[in-house]
């Protein structure tokens, strides 16, 4: 058979991870924006705007973990054990906010502030940990004899701390623009006003990461700045500049959906940039998707189920977004 199974699986997992980042990104962003919105009713509207969809968003995280184990067991083993602490923090954060989501509605009045705080802190911890993990991933892992050979805190570096903060800002942008689309009135105005500094901060973060990464990694610099690659990849930074400009304009425009769509596009460009930098490695800096691949029997066996069931999950996701389209109004809660 002429199917390149590792490539196909890398695409499936890459797609799943992108779905996760985009979709859980904006609902984590809601929690990140909590400190900027004090009013109880506004907070309810914010949470209600993502209530129908958030747990479906985390579907992709579980699916990604299981698919990585099935298709690239070596990558799963090395990356997850190397990133032990940030991943444990991420899981703790996600559990925390996941249940806080429900309990802040179901708890009695006295306990509601507790679950509000849990929701906020869970969102911050989960996002920051994901950013730490991302930074650690880009920096690469020391592998010897088919196992992680580095230390417990190798992922911790100024760069990963920066990507942690950068991801907080990025998700905040997704959250703010999502709220511009889903709310109206005073809350929407506040988000439009917040959108501008956040967008500028995102731009700054993108610029810093784009310079820092090639400066620290010669091979990534070579990937981007050699000819003819430079010409192929030039659209990425150009599009980033254009998208940012359009986003800043749309924040003051008429459209309610444009800021969110542009923010998604911006995030997609960042994701593409990482893909270009790291390709074809699944364990940076040196182990490719073909080196880390499971035996073809495993990949083929799992592929059948993935190809049958993922379209169902996508269709269901699309349907639930369609059902809950439109503005969320105060008091018209889902709860």
């Amino acid at each position: 058979m002429g199917i390149d199974l590792p490539l196909l699986w890398a695409m499936i997992i890459g797609f799943g991870l992108m779905m996760y980042v985009i979709m859980d990104g904006f609902d984590l962003g809601i929690g990140i924006l909590f400190p900027f919105v004090r009013d109880r009713e506004d907070r309810d509207v914010m949470v209600n705007s993502v209530a129908p969809v958030w747990d479906g968003n985390e579907t992709w995280l579980v699916l990604g973990g299981a698919a990585l184990l099935a298709a690239f067991p070596l990558a799963y083993a090395v990356i997850l054990s190397a990133l032990y602490l940030p991943l444990m923090m991420m899981l703790a954060g996600l559990i925390w906010r996941g249940v806080a989501f429900e309990f802040r509605f179901k708890a009695d009045e006295a306990h509601k502030p507790f679950w509000d705080k849990a929701f906020m802190w869970g969102s911050y911890i989960a996002t920051f940990s994901q950013g730490l993990a991302l930074g650690g991933f880009i920096n690469g892992f020391e592998v010897r004899d088919g196992a992680y050979a580095g230390g417990f805190l190798d992922w911790l570096s100024p760069f990963s701390l920066f990507t942690g903060v950068a991801l907080l800002i990025g998700y905040a942008l997704l959250g703010a623009t999502w709220l511009i689309m889903k709310t109206e009135g005073e809350l929407q105005q506040r988000m439009r006003a917040l959108g501008r500094p956040i967008t500028l901060a995102v731009l700054a973060a993108v610029v810093v990461v784009s310079l820092w990464t090639p400066l620290a990694h010669a091979d990534i610099a070579a990937r981007w700045f050699s000819l003819p690659n430079l010409l192929f990849f030039a659209p990425v930074p150009v599009l980033v500049a254009l998208a940012t400009w359009a986003l800043l304009k749309s924040l003051h425009g008429e459209s309610h959906a444009a800021p969110f769509l542009l923010a998604l596009f911006l995030l997609f460009l960042g994701y593409t940039g990482f893909g270009i930098s790291l390709w074809p490695n699944i364990i940076p800096p040196a182990i490719s998707i073909w080196d880390a691949a499971a035996p073809p029997q495993s990949m083929g066996f799992t592929l059948v189920g993935a190809l049958v069931i993922i379209p169902f999950i996508l269709a269901y996701t699309a349907w639930s977004y369609y059902v809950f389209r439109g503005k969320v109004k105060p008091g018209e809660g889902y709860h």
Binding site: A77, L80, Y148, S298, G305
Partner: protein, 471 residues
């Protein structure tokens, strides 16, 4: 922490998170089938009591399902974070099986759970019943994949080892490995039993407080019939499972029985109680019944099976732990049998809903099914030691290189967090149980009233505010 090694702490951490997790799926499996039966009875007999019970238990099902999803998130990552050598060695087999479990679970959630929890008034009764059945079937399919994976670790076959990693050769053999059918049957029936005991205890609690409505009586009666029929079946399956284990993992059986060596020509006694001492290679303070061990395990008066001394010391599982975890499981099983038989006895003369000693017993047996499940899993998992994949990979070679300090810290974080999170969740579930089934004044279930657009999220099927049950 407490002088434990990194390996022991990694095992405790995994054991802690998975023990918390398994409780929820077990109840999910049992309740899903119970709901399918209730809805079937409602469609067949058209008696409102079945419909009302369906709505009552479906809200509890929803909360329980959500707890299972949240606690399961951790499991998808722990194989890599804590057992990275196991993952890179055997991920080519356990990975696809785990992936299929996740895919089946999400397929069920995407397709039918929403209809089941929120569609009562939106789709026809036939389609709704179909959705409920599919959810019940989906939970069983999920269990099948996970148990195939675990059973392969207990009795591996259908693979070969190439360049130091496992390569699947025959998926049929991998999935239908020797211990899989027994483990699947044993666990599924255990989930049914645990649910029947939980439902029965809920009803008993209401009866003890004087709430003897038709709904409560129906619930208790159904649970007790289930117990009466299923508990003996479980004993039978358990016996077969034990024989299967003796054939494939004799060291586990020796440890479970605290059996160290055979005397030529003599049968093996059954040790009822005792304290196996690994260092002294003996079982202290043993209370024995002559030849009963032979009868149970070989079905012969003087039959023999290997003692622990026939295995090298480094290949022996910890007898003290599995000896006792096994006896807790079996002891609770005997109490379940007794509860079922007692309920049958009380039905003569209609004392089932009035006998306070019986109702108190049923109440106390509420968590026994779940405790027995945990004890059983400790027996089979600790009994597999020192292997993670039996005879193929040792647990000490499977664990990631994390220090004891790191593992203690994360373990404490998990314990504190789980106590708060799942404590609140379980508390909320019990509050729902305490409210009791309500006779439906209208057709709409509580989760369908007054709101046009609903999230298809499990927890939303449960009401936000739960009023305490009227005394």
């Amino acid at each position: 922490m407490f002088g434990l090694t990194a390996l022991e702490l990694a095992r405790i951490q995994f054991g802690f998170t998975i023990s918390f997790h398994i409780v929820f799926p077990a109840i999910t499996i049992g309740l899903a089938s119970y709901l399918a039966v209730l809805e079937g009875l409602w469609l067949w007999k058209k008696e409102a009591v079945y419909r009302d019970l369906y709505h009552f238990w479906s809200t509890i099902f929803a909360v329980n399902f959500a707890m299972g999803v949240v606690s399961g998130l951790v499991m998808a990552y722990q194989f890599g974070t804590n057992w990275s050598y196991f993952s890179s060695f055997a991920g080519s087999i356990t990975g696809p099986l785990l992936a299929y479990e996740v895919l089946s679970a999400f397929f069920l959630e995407a397709g039918f759970l929403g209809v089941m929890l929120f569609g009562w008034n939106r789709v026809g009764p036939g389609l709704h019943f179909f959705a409920t059945i599919m959810v019940a079937l989906g939970t069983l399919i999920s269990a099948t994949w996970i148990l195939a994976s675990n059973s392969w670790m207990q009795t591996p076959q259908g693979h070969e080892i190439v360049n130091g990693v496992v390569v699947p050769v025959d998926w049929f053999k991998v999935i239908f490995n020797p211990s899989f059918p027994y483990r699947l049957a044993h666990m599924t029936v255990a989930a049914f039993l645990a649910t029947a005991l939980f439902v029965g205890a809920s009803g008993a609690w209401h009866l003890l407080r004087g709430n003897a409505s038709r709904h409560v009586r129906t619930m208790v009666s159904m649970a007790m019939w289930m117990l009466l029929v299923v508990a003996p079946i479980q004993v039978f399956i358990g016996d077969l499972h034990g024989l299967n284990t003796l054939k494939h993992q004799p060291a586990k059986i020796a440890a479970v029985e605290g059996h160290w060596q055979n005397t030529p020509g003599e049968g093996v006694p059954l040790i009822l109680f005792g304290f196996p001492d690994m260092a002294a290679e003996t079982t202290r303070y043993a209370v024995k019944i002559p030849n009963l061990g032979s009868v149970i395990l070989t079905h012969e008066w003087n039959g023999q099976f290997p003692g622990l001394k026939e295995f090298a010391p480094e290949d022996r599982p910890n007898s003290l732990v599995v000896f006792w975890s096994f006896r807790i499981m079996v002891g609770l099983g005997m109490l379940m049998l007794a509860l079922g038989v007692w309920s049958l006895w009380l039905r003569r003369g209609g004392r089932l809903f009035r006998s306070r000693p019986f109702l108190r017993f049923a109440l106390w047996m509420g968590p026994s099914g779940l405790i027995a499940i945990l004890a059983g899993w400790y027996t089979t998992e600790i009994g597999r030691q020192p292997w993670v994949v039996y005879g193929v990979m040792r647990t000490e070679d499977a664990v990631s290189n994390h220090s004891a300090l790191v593992l203690s810290t994360t373990l404490i974080v998990f314990i504190v967090m789980y106590a708060i999170v799942f404590g609140t969740g379980i508390g909320y579930m019990l509050k729902l149980v305490a409210k009791g089934p309500q006779p439906g004044e209208d057709e709409a279930p509580p989760n369908d009233r007054g709101q046009s657009r609903r999230p298809a999220r499990p927890m939303s099927a449960a009401p936000d505010i739960v009023e305490p049950a009227p005394r």
